[in-house]
């Protein structure tokens, strides 16, 4: 790639970053307003938390993130992973999430299936960031009709 193209790409990246940043600020603003406007909805959570602790219990310690992975869960520590962790791991192993890969529509279909048949609740405004996180970090892999053998542990065969 030429230097010129590199520079254009850099500029594009910068532009994208600033748009992302503005969107983040706007979204944060909306979220904060929602939090201020509807605090009682969170109080209701205490009825299902036997220890009656605040819902911050679901967040994680940053020291548990190593090389971009949240070590206790193994999830990719990208934006929204805490939300995925605390939502999905309510009912099933987070391994079930980690081993799957799908497009945004594919993940949406899984959520709808769980809502229709398995008793998953309405995810409300959590659904968008959950879908963003999953489709970005656990997107389908194209491995073709057959891939190379991987993770071979070599050893000497004794007869």
């Amino acid at each position: 790639m030429g230097e010129k193209e590199d520079r254009i790409n850099q500029l594009l990246k910068l532009a994208r970053l600033s748009i992302n940043f503005s969107l983040t600020l706007i979204a944060s603003g909306i979220l904060v307003s929602v939090l201020i406007l509807y605090p009682p909805s969170f109080d209701k959570t205490s009825s299902i938390h036997p220890a009656n602790v605040s819902s911050t219990e679901f967040s994680v310690d940053s020291t548990e993130i190593k090389n971009g992975i949240h070590v206790p869960s193994g999830l990719i520590a990208d934006k929204g992973f805490e939300l995925v962790l605390k939502t999905c791991a309510q009912c099933h192993s987070i391994e079930v999430v980690k081993q799957n890969r799908a497009t945004k529509q594919g993940w949406k279909d899984m959520i709808v299936w769980m809502q229709k048949t398995q008793g998953l609740w309405d995810l409300g405004i959590d659904e968008v960031p959950i879908l963003e996180y999953l489709s970005k970090n656990y997107s389908p892999k194209n491995t073709g009709r057959r891939k190379n053998l991987e993770n071979i542990e070599w050893y000497y065969l004794k007869d």
Partner: protein, 422 residues
């Protein structure tokens, strides 16, 4: 998810405690912190359920009677497969038999109080048996039966299909002991209009105790085969809890999900059973071939019957390094659903040439067969041993992943191991 006061196989209290004590120190900034900290629609979360919130790798001893050598895919529900080299014995050892659950195993099983009810539109009457009655009323039979998860080898499908991403180890063939399903059904009385049987088990839904976890079945013809068992023993031992203790169906050759575990009820149906995981995309494949990634309407899907021909190289374990000029044995298992295996060939040159192996006859119908041969690698280098079985109708395992389907079932592509000559 922990249902209060029930699941004894679930995560320990102390672990829950430590989970509750996690503090917010998110490095991902305010936005992620806010989103991460709150469960916004928590009021929609079912009552009387204690959220755990954080899943970690768990102690393997939580699967009683099962080996820690199994590869765990999920611990809620428990799903674990057998490393291929551990499938080398003719009868898969009980502790190594794979585990596939859709919900939680029942807790506090009391075999003295266990009941099996036979009923349904096409049952002449409704009869409930205790375990003791089943064992005393009917003749006992033992068969070696191969059961393979319909989604075994799913991990190789491209694009990825949803579900447990099984390698090749969700299969096993053990000696199962019980009574013939047909003896019990005939004792109760099967009406002429019977079409299907449907089972119910005591497993518990992960979230909602009122939901049926899985309730599948087979056409009446398959149910009435000699080898279809209501079994209480595997390899002359009680079933492990994870494999259906104290009572299960074992119906060889079909997706293992028809072999219902923790069996409490069988319905003789006058139509195709419509229980949980009989419809939609579950254990169903398109009626016609589709391009990878195609969205297929439910009405174009059909229920999987017999599993396809397949084989595994169980010895040597993949990764063997062999000295110059040394010959070594290569062996494994082969099975073909309702059919038997006619031939097994191996290739050490990526399918260019094939060598026919010796092959045993099955101990009984639906038992897998043992194949073996000896090979010497021609020169220094990297090789793969590919195994390819042919069923009694002449159908052969493909060398590439077979036709894609929405849920990734029936991948019977030939198994490969890596070997090197030094």
């Amino acid at each position: 998810m922990r249902k209060k006061n029930t699941q004894n196989i679930n995560l320990s209290e102390s672990k829950d405690e430590s989970r509750r004590n996690f503090v917010v120190k998110s490095s991902l900034g305010l936005f992620a912190g806010l989103l991460g900290a709150k469960m916004v629609f928590a009021e929609n979360f079912p009552k009387d359920i204690e959220p755990i919130g954080l899943e970690e790798s768990t102690s393997k001893s939580l699967m009683p009677g099962k080996s820690d050598k199994l590869t765990i895919l999920s611990d809620r529900p428990w799903n674990a497969e057998t490393p291929i080299h551990l499938l080398d014995p003719i009868a898969t050892p009980t502790k190594h038999f794979f585990v596939r659950n859709n919900g939680n195993a029942p807790s506090n099983v009391n075999p003295e109080k266990w009941k099996l009810t036979i009923e349904g539109e096409s049952a002449s009457k409704k009869i409930t048996f205790s375990l003791k009655e089943l064992k005393s009323k009917f003749k006992h039979y033992s068969y070696h039966l191969t059961i393979e998860c319909g989604g075994n080898s799913r991990a190789e499908f491209s694009p990825t299909t949803e579900g447990n991403q099984w390698g090749n180890g969700a299969v096993g063939c053990a000696k199962w002991t019980g009574v013939r399903l047909k003896d019990v059904l005939n004792y109760v009385g099967v009406k002429a209009d019977a079409v299907y049987i449907g089972y119910y088990g005591a497993d518990q839904h992960l979230l909602d105790p009122s939901k049926v976890v899985i309730s599948r079945g087979v056409p009446i013809k398959k149910a009435m085969e000699d080898e279809s068992l209501i079994a209480w023993a595997i390899n002359d031992e009680n079933l492990p809890l994870m494999n259906g203790y104290p009572l299960r169906l074992v119906i060889g050759g079909w997706p293992a999900s028809v072999s219902g575990k923790w069996l409490t009820k069988i319905k003789i149906r006058n139509k195709v059973h419509d229980g949980e995981k009989m419809e939609g995309k579950s254990y169903r494949v398109p009626k016609y071939p589709v391009a990878p990634g195609t969205k297929v309407p439910d009405e174009d899907m059909e229920i999987i019957g017999s599993m396809p021909v397949k084989s595994l190289v169980t010895y040597p374990k993949s990764g063997a390094m062999i000295g110059k000029g040394k010959s070594f044995e290569v062996r494994g298992q082969a099975w073909a659903g309702d059919l038997s295996v006619k031939e097994v060939h191996i290739s050490i040159d990526f399918g260019v040439t094939w060598k026919k192996c010796t092959l045993t006859t099955p101990i009984n119908r639906f038992a897998w067969q043992q194949w073996k041969t000896r090979i010497t690698l021609p020169e220094k280098g990297y090789y793969e041993v590919w195994a390819r079985a042919t069923d009694s109708n002449g159908k052969i395992q493909p060398m590439v992943v077979p036709n894609w389907n929405p849920k990734g079932y029936l991948n019977n592509a030939c198994h490969r191991i890596a070997v090197k000559q030094l």
